[in-house]
């Protein structure tokens, strides 16, 4: 019986490769949006500068720090599982999930404030703005929104992973799901690394 368990056919490298291919498609999805941003920015650079003044740099920077920490804790949890310390791994994964929560709360306040002052796609205020500002805010809402969707999916995935680590079905002999969940989470971080300077810091 033990033999048959050890003989279980598994291809961890293949699993990770598949995850990377998926990440490439995600990068090209966001890549397309960054292209739109680049063209619109070169066309309306003054309006983009003006519109970006309305974004809260502090919240943006805070979310950057939160995401970087959460990425590190996922990576640390992989080392913990590799060393057979599932308890520690669960703790670090929980820190990651808390970070995801903090990010979403910040986003709630950030978007909430904009929506309250009437700044959202299709609003009356938006119709009175010049075309460059409308482009900026549309891109802002769409890109951060799509990023947030990925963050929520990643958090759900990592919740499942955390439960599996807790139940020891992810362990030092078999942890490719944790690695792939981690890869997805790092993708979320990677996208934010570019979104933050391009949207918040161009004032």
């Amino acid at each position: 019986m033990i033999m048959s368990r050890d003989m279980e056919h598994r291809d961890d490298i293949g699993s990770r490769l598949g995850m990377w291919v998926f990440i490439f498609t995600e990068l090209l999805l966001f890549g397309g949006l960054f292209l739109v941003y680049a063209v619109m920015r070169s066309k309306y650079s003054f309006e983009f500068h003006q519109a970006a003044l309305h974004l809260n740099t502090f919240i943006g920077a805070l979310n950057t720090v939160v995401l970087l920490i959460s990425s590190a804790t996922v990576a640390i949890s992989i080392t913990a599982v590799q060393k057979g310390n599932n308890k520690l791994a669960v703790r670090f994964l929980l820190i990651t999930l808390i970070c995801a929560g903090i990010f979403l709360i910040n986003k709630y306040f950030e978007w909430g404030h904009k929506i309250r002052i009437g700044l959202y796609p299709g609003s009356d205020l938006m119709l009175t703005l010049n075309h460059g500002s409308v482009m900026f805010f549309s891109l802002y809402f769409f890109m951060t929104g799509l990023h947030m969707l990925h963050l929520i999916i990643g958090a759900v995935l990592l919740t499942v992973v955390t439960i599996k680590v807790q139940r020891l079905s992810i362990n030092r002999d078999s942890y490719v799901l944790l690695e792939n969940g981690g890869l997805y989470w790092h993708l979320v971080d990677l996208i934010w690394i570019f979104l933050f300077p391009l949207l918040y810091l161009i004032t």
Binding site: D6, R10, G31, H186, L190
Partner: protein
Amino acid sequence: MLSETTHVTPYRTYMVVLITLLVLTSLTITVTWIDLSAFTVLSALLIASFKAGIVMKYFMHLKFESSLFKILVIMVLSIYILVIILLFFDYLFR
């Protein structure tokens, strides 16, 4: 099942990487506060690319993957850069 190629990254490495990333983040913010006009975006993007490289190398374990992974990443990024160049050739010279 632990293969001999499995690399266990020490906790310390991740802490060093995290601190580096945080320092680079504050550097990005500082750079954009100082007005470098045309170079502001360029420097912010360069720092962001550097950060992304660190994340992929250490957090995403690209450093310890087989060369197949590295070749694929380089290919995808090259294609994307090529698309950017082609797009701006079309956009700026039409």
